[in-house]
């Protein structure tokens, strides 16, 4: 049993953190140049031939840096179901994707292509009109697609069984990155801000909620890394682990952000401070894909009835309106 990152994975995290600190809004081509879009793409298709644990490292750092763009949509939701020549395009930075799983589709402003579920297949949606909707989290808009027609068939719709745990695990580890940054801000502030002649971190009314925030984050991160490993290894527990991780990590991220806002006092509530952006991303993650309540219902079905996979997926939506 070994639950540590390899030196290569640690180096990848360091590279990601340095790069994202220096480049707050990287272009898709830059991410491709770093090799991030082809992490799990086979080497003969221009990728690195690595796996989901390496991608998880990047998801976490992108969450921490609150990076805008279609990385999560492309890599977590679409990449593994693409035929190899289309995977090669993603690895080369020539294409990015999003998946229209429900009526509200993420990253329609930045993703070049749209995958859509229809009948027994997943297709590329062609000729559709996109409308971007305003969302609280400005870094990850949602939108709707209208019209268009299914073009190239990408995969059988059964591929969704593989996509769902991937997406949930990716959201979970991204949430951990968001929470980590919010906690860092809070610790920094509590260790320097003075009131009543002392640094506020000495007061247990401040330090104990921060200890709880750390605790909640570490528990969630353990689940998210467990889920990531299960996805990478195609372990039979992947659906349950990913459901548990997403429910737990999204809730942790929201609560850690709320604690951080409270610890910051008035400044934490302003538009000027970055905290509200982290908070809005945490709320976005919590609402996306599946709620904590519905995910826990899946976990309960596993714990009490031994069901390993969730029930039938909601009716797929081919196109919305128009």
């Amino acid at each position: 049993m070994d639950f540590t990152f390899t030196p290569e994975q640690d180096a990848l995290r360091e590279q990601a953190r340095d790069f994202l600190t220096a480049n707050s809004e990287p272009a898709w081509a830059e991410l491709a140049e770093l090799g991030w879009t082809g992490v799990s793409v086979a080497e003969e298709d221009g990728g690195a031939g690595l796996g989901f644990v390496e991608e998880a490292v990047i998801f976490e750092e992108l969450g921490r840096a609150l990076t805008k763009g279609p990385y999560l949509s492309t890599v977590a939701a679409v990449l593994p179901i693409l035929p190899s020549e289309l995977q090669a395009e993603v690895a080369a930075g020539e294409a990015s994707w999003t998946l229209a799983l429900g009526p509200l589709v993420p990253d329609l402003d930045t993703a070049q292509r749209i995958a859509v579920v229809g009948g027994d297949g997943i297709f590329e949606l062609e000729g559709a009109e996109r409308e971007i909707l305003q969302t609280t989290d400005e870094t990850r808009p949602l939108g709707v697609v209208r019209g268009g027609a299914p073009g190239r068939r990408l995969a059988d719709s059964t591929a969704l069984d593989e996509i769902r745990p991937r997406l949930l695990a990716a959201l979970a580890i991204e949430a951990c990155g968001v929470a980590r940054r919010a906690l860092e801000y809070a610790i920094e502030y509590a260790a320097s801000r003075e009131q009543f002649g002392r640094r506020i971190g000495v007061y247990q009314a401040v330090s104990h909620p921060l200890a709880d925030a750390y605790t909640q984050l570490e528990l969630a991160r353990s689940l998210a890394l467990w889920a990531a490993w299960c996805v990478a290894e195609q372990d039979e527990l992947a659906p349950v682990a990913a459901a548990a991780a997403k429910a737990s990590a999204a809730e942790a991220a929201v609560q850690v952000c709320e604690t951080s806002i409270q610890v910051h006092g008035g400044i934490g509530f302003t538009w000027e401070h970055v905290l509200h952006r982290l908070y809005k991303r945490a709320l976005w993650i919590e609402s996306f894909a599946a709620s904590g309540t519905s995910l826990r219902a899946e976990v309960a079905a596993y714990v009490l009835e031994g069901k390993k996979a969730p029930g039938p997926a909601p009716e797929p939506v081919l196109t919305q309106g128009g």
Binding site: M1, T4, S207, A211, E218, S248, A297
Partner: protein
């Protein structure tokens, strides 16, 4: 990162599982803990069986009678013991606290005299740290040890001492310099519990049974050879003990929580659970998995670097609160049967007992308030509150 057992770990697990199946007596399987864990000969015999099979002191060095095994084996042992609902070795204070402290600070004579009987459960140890006036604030210890005529004379009172009524020896923190305050002037002694002047009074607790005790020391003579560390250096020795208490506890607690959650699921299947209760059960299962994988992360770090990861420090805090929620949720599932006690209650009163006992979990071995201070100050680096 590979969460599977290595071939070698898998072999150890399989061998252990087979051994447990063969050797665990049915009458002590699934015991409810508490005082039952040290009452009667059965538990000693079981501890002895663990020792004979090489499962006691698994991570202790071979020269001291241990298994010299890596910590991963200890984790597997605790997991498998929990899965089989096997009671732990009766010498928990000896194996978890006294033994490691003797290994770190004891003389060769101490090691030769005390370590093997701890593992074989021939001798039971208790801990004399807390006092009526020194609980979370351990540096307030007042039990005195006066050096005269080649021995210490110990006077004072200790409290919350589990196993004291059956113990052969006590690890005792005393104040040897009456002029000293706080962390200085403390001295750490090994005390024979059969010595004249030692009096043990069991304390009946919230569950109606006595797991812990008061110990009174009335001019008890302790040979100077029983000193651990230096005269006046007791605080450093005590920190070794507490480090081991908190360090090795994580996996035992996780294993105990796995048993509770499994029993909770059984209860829910037996008696039914509504959607809101199912949601709560899922939360507890998720939390249990989170504690497990947090322990794995900390353990992996320990195996690689020799130091456990900081996230391990949250295990006891999280476990104690989880155990309180799980047991209370069980009472909710029992519905109108919840107030019934002991033989009149479903499952022999297991859950009623567990729920009441769980209130001690956030107090014993470091209160949750102290543990939150430790996380805030040592892990997060916040300024000290005192």
């Amino acid at each position: 990162m590979d969460l599977r057992d290595t071939a070698e770990e898998a072999a150890f697990r399989a061998e252990l599982r087979a051994w447990l199946e063969e050797n665990l007596p049915g009458d002590i399987q699934g015991h409810r803990g508490g005082a039952a864990r040290f009452e009667g000969e059965a538990m000693r015999a079981w501890s002895r069986a663990l020792y004979d099979a090489g499962y006691a002191g698994l991570t202790w060095p071979k020269e001291y009678g241990g298994g010299g095994a890596p910590y991963t084996h200890q984790a597997i042992l605790l997991e498998e013991m929990a899965r089989a609902e096997a009671p732990p070795h009766v010498g928990v204070i000896g194996i978890g606290m006294a033994g490691p402290t003797i290994m770190a600070h004891g003389t060769e004579e101490h090691k030769a005299r005390h370590l093997a009987p701890i593992l074989s459960a021939e001798e039971i140890w208790c801990q004399g740290f807390s006092e009526p006036g020194a609980g979370s604030d351990l540096a307030g210890v007042r039990t005195s040890a006066r050096l005269e005529d080649g021995h210490f004379v110990v006077d004072g009172q200790k409290v919350w001492s589990s196993f004291a009524h059956i113990a052969d020896f006590c690890i005792l923190l005393t104040r040897s310099d009456p002029e000293s305050t706080r962390h200085a002037g403390l001295t750490y002694l090994i005390v024979d519990m059969k010595a004249p002047g030692v009096e043990v009074r069991p304390l009946t607790q919230i569950t109606g049974e006595a797991e812990f005790n008061e110990i009174f020391f009335n001019a008890v003579e302790v040979p100077v050879e029983n000193l651990l560390g230096e005269v006046g250096g007791g605080w450093q020795v005590a920190m070794t003990t507490l480090l081991h208490e908190r360090g090795t506890l994580g996996f035992a607690l996780q294993a105990a929580l796995e048993v509770q959650v499994r029993k909770l699921a059984t209860l829910a299947r037996d008696r039914g659970a509504d959607p809101i209760q199912r949601d709560k059960i899922a939360r507890e299962w998720i939390e249990m998995q989170a504690v497990r994988y947090t322990n794995y992360r900390s353990l992996s770090q320990l195996m690689k670097t020799g130091l456990p990861g900081p996230e391990g420090s949250i295990s006891k805090l999280v476990w104690s609160e989880a155990n309180q929620r799980v047991t209370k949720l069980a009472l909710e599932l029992l519905g109108p049967d919840a107030p019934l006690w002991d033989g009149n209650a479903p499952y022999g009163g297991y859950w009623q007992y567990q729920q009441l006992r769980s209130r001690g979990n956030t107090i014993e071995a470091g209160t949750s308030e102290v543990l939150r201070n430790i996380v805030a100050e040592r892990v997060l680096g916040l300024p000290k509150s005192r």
